[in-house]
Amino acid sequence: MCTVCGCGEGEGEARIDGVAHVHEDGTVHSHAQAHDHDHHHAHGIDGDLDFGAGPARAHAPGLSQSRMVQIEQDILAKNNTYADANRRLFDERGIFALNLVSGPGAGKTTLLVKTIELLRDKVAIAVVEGDQQTSNDAERIRATGVPALQINTGKGCHLDGHMVGHAVEHLKPADGSLFLIENVGNLVCPAAFDLGEHHKVAILSVTEGEDKPLKYPDMFRAADVMLLNKCDLLPHLDFDADLAEANARRVNPDLTIFRVSAARGEGMNAWVDWIAAGLAVQGARRTESVDALKARIAELERQLATR
């Protein structure tokens, strides 16, 4: 790991606010060579993150005897380490984090904007927007008055735990706040990458097919909640909402489903109430961790007094 900014290995470069942050060394693990860190003075809350990807390299001198080495690790272990760190931070600070996933055009950004409008007077909100290119979505979110950070994944098809960790550093979400991550519009890849969120929320719109949960089962299996969006259009379509829900539950029997229309507001109260319940749970968790810290301080003071 890079000791300056905490960047993991394997990145070609990460651009923040258009300022290059280059990992160009041959031995990525040791960071023995040039390592520019221009961006640390430049990124504000509106700064965008731009990630590329490149393979890591290593040179390992030593033995020439052939032997087997046990590894026994998940291929995504690295990502999961970043995600766990994000989740720990969220839990310590009582932040409720959601990862919104869908195919392109299901209405994620509109849904986010409406959700923010319903909640912004009650709770602090910060938003991470993932797209391959442009900062259009972050600008739509900023127009609602809440801070938003755009992450451009470049060629990447999903956000990962490391990118979101950087986003948290930039956005500095308040204690007890709501942290919303809009993933790249893609029903396949984001399913496998834990970002440290508490729940994945899959959005399916009624202008898609009822069989989408069966065609892309990974995402509906990874999600805890499904929002069936654009339900105001149901009278004009042949879409069978009950069939869509049944298909989603075939893939994930425990799925919680809300029928909503982000554009018209129908069903949004139930969804917002669900978020409020999640925030309350996180708030209680934070109180617990603060109480535990206070108890520890008291114990240490007691020990100090006896010295």
């Binding site: 693990h29 990807a53 393979p55 890591a56 290593a58 080495v69 590894i71 291929i75 425990d254």
Partner: protein, 113 residues
């Protein structure tokens, strides 16, 4: 899906292990890939060969062990074989199957010299 990201994740683990073990070369890598993990193994092999080029794992052979999918029927409680992430319980006909095995993507071990 995203086999390039998986290949890069694999390479990180493999190169870290190779460095720790002071290996000069990685000859083969044994992977366990579940049938329900949605990993296209030929794409993973292709991507890994591309990202490993020039490093100690250049040319390493991937030995991929298929782990069969299995699930629990939430209606009758039986454990049944699953070939996709959804199915029908052969015993009671319920669609309420929850995958319990075959979703893993792990590096088990590797051969170094």
């Amino acid at each position: 899906m995203h086999e390039m990201s998986l290949a890069e994740g694999m390479l990180q683990l493999v190169e870290e292990t190779a460095r720790r073990e002071q290996a000069q070369r990685v000859k083969s890598i044994v992977l366990e890939i579940g049938q329900l993990a949605s990993v296209e193994t030929s794409a993973l092999e292709f991507c890994f060969a591309a990202v490993a080029a020039g490093g100690p794992a250049d040319g390493a052979r991937l030995v991929i062990i298929d782990v069969p999918g299995a699930g629990c029927c939430l209606s009758c409680g039986r454990t049944v074989a699953m070939e996709s992430l959804f199915g029908v319980c052969p015993d009671c006909g319920s669609h309420r199957l929850q995958a319990t095995a075959g979703t893993e993507m792990r590096i088990r071990e590797m051969e170094i010299e």
